[in-house]
């Protein structure tokens, strides 16, 4: 970690303030994720906000510590699982005699509920893929040594 910002871990104020803020950033990310039907935002924004909490942690406390919290393995599988979840929702609706990504058939008794479930699931998939991808890109950039 040769980024000048990485020396922030020696700064007391930055350490204390970021430690205070990170839980709120993560909580706000979750709020944007699951409240996307009702307020602004959705999976994409939520994924980026959620990741920015981790990136802040990485900047202040070092990449090594961050990778102990979220190892590469989690990042790699998270990015793939999100896309897979999205695709699986589409295939599930095919198997339930609907069109691809036709959420109404997901709940045979209540079409509206099926719609909400479908949107919730695909937003979750988008959020997972986006946040894991952003973190992967950050890891790839920050993990390199200066040439």
């Amino acid at each position: 970690m040769k980024i000048p910002l990485m020396r922030m871990r020696e700064k007391l104020v930055v350490r204390v303030v970021s430690r205070f803020f990170i839980p709120f950033i993560l909580l706000f990310g979750l709020y944007v994720q699951f409240h996307g039907d009702f307020g602004p935002g959705g999976g994409f924004q939520a994924g980026v906000i959620f990741t920015s909490g981790f990136v802040l942690y990485g900047l202040v406390f070092g990449l090594e510590n961050l990778q102990r919290v979220v190892p590469w393995r989690v990042v790699e599988s998270g990015a793939s699982l999100g896309l897979l979840l999205y695709g699986c929702v589409g295939i599930a609706s095919l198997f339930l005699n609907g069109n691809f990504l036709d959420y109404k058939v997901l709940d045979p008794h209540d079409a509206m509920h099926g719609l909400h479930l479908g949107i919730l699931l695909i937003e979750l998939g988008v959020g997972l893929t986006v946040s894991a991808s952003m973190l992967a890109i950050f890891y790839a950039f920050a993990g390199r040594r200066t040439a």
């Binding site: 959705g42 990015a79 959420y103 937003e123 950039f141």
Partner: protein, 179 residues
Amino acid sequence: MIPIEFLLLAFLAVTAIVIARLDYLFAAAMLTGIFSLLSAGLFTLMDAVDVAFTEAAVGAGVSTVLMLGTLSLTVREERERPSRILPFVIVFLTGGALFWGTLEMPAYGDPTATIHQYLAPDYIAGTEAEFGIPNIVTAILGSYRGFDTLGETAVIFTAALGVMALLASGRGRRGEEKK
């Protein structure tokens, strides 16, 4: 009283000019973050809250961090001053073409514009009736244009794969286990 849109736009222009003139790339990277934040403010004023959200999170947040990360791998100062006349001419022509293009556009917020006649009324009426959710953007992204969003998610995934393949080679999982 000057409307806040003009103030933001003026700040945006000043920031852009300063970014173009700076040699110290670290400061230029920080200023692009400010540029994104100002545009997010403008988008909010235009009631495009979802776009503003994305701009603030991606433009001001993640991409600034990535630019700083790139700078830490390369140099922090522009080494040689390249010719500034040709870029200026290109930018001027592009900007002029864009301005010229906006002349043909309907006025901002004009309800009789073509784009507001075709699908938008269906989306606006359908979101509440078919979905029972208030956020039209979510309904469009998630359901009306679910295929597009699937494609976009795949694009982001592919981008991450590409960056991992290019930049994280030889590290990652195997490197982690070695430690």
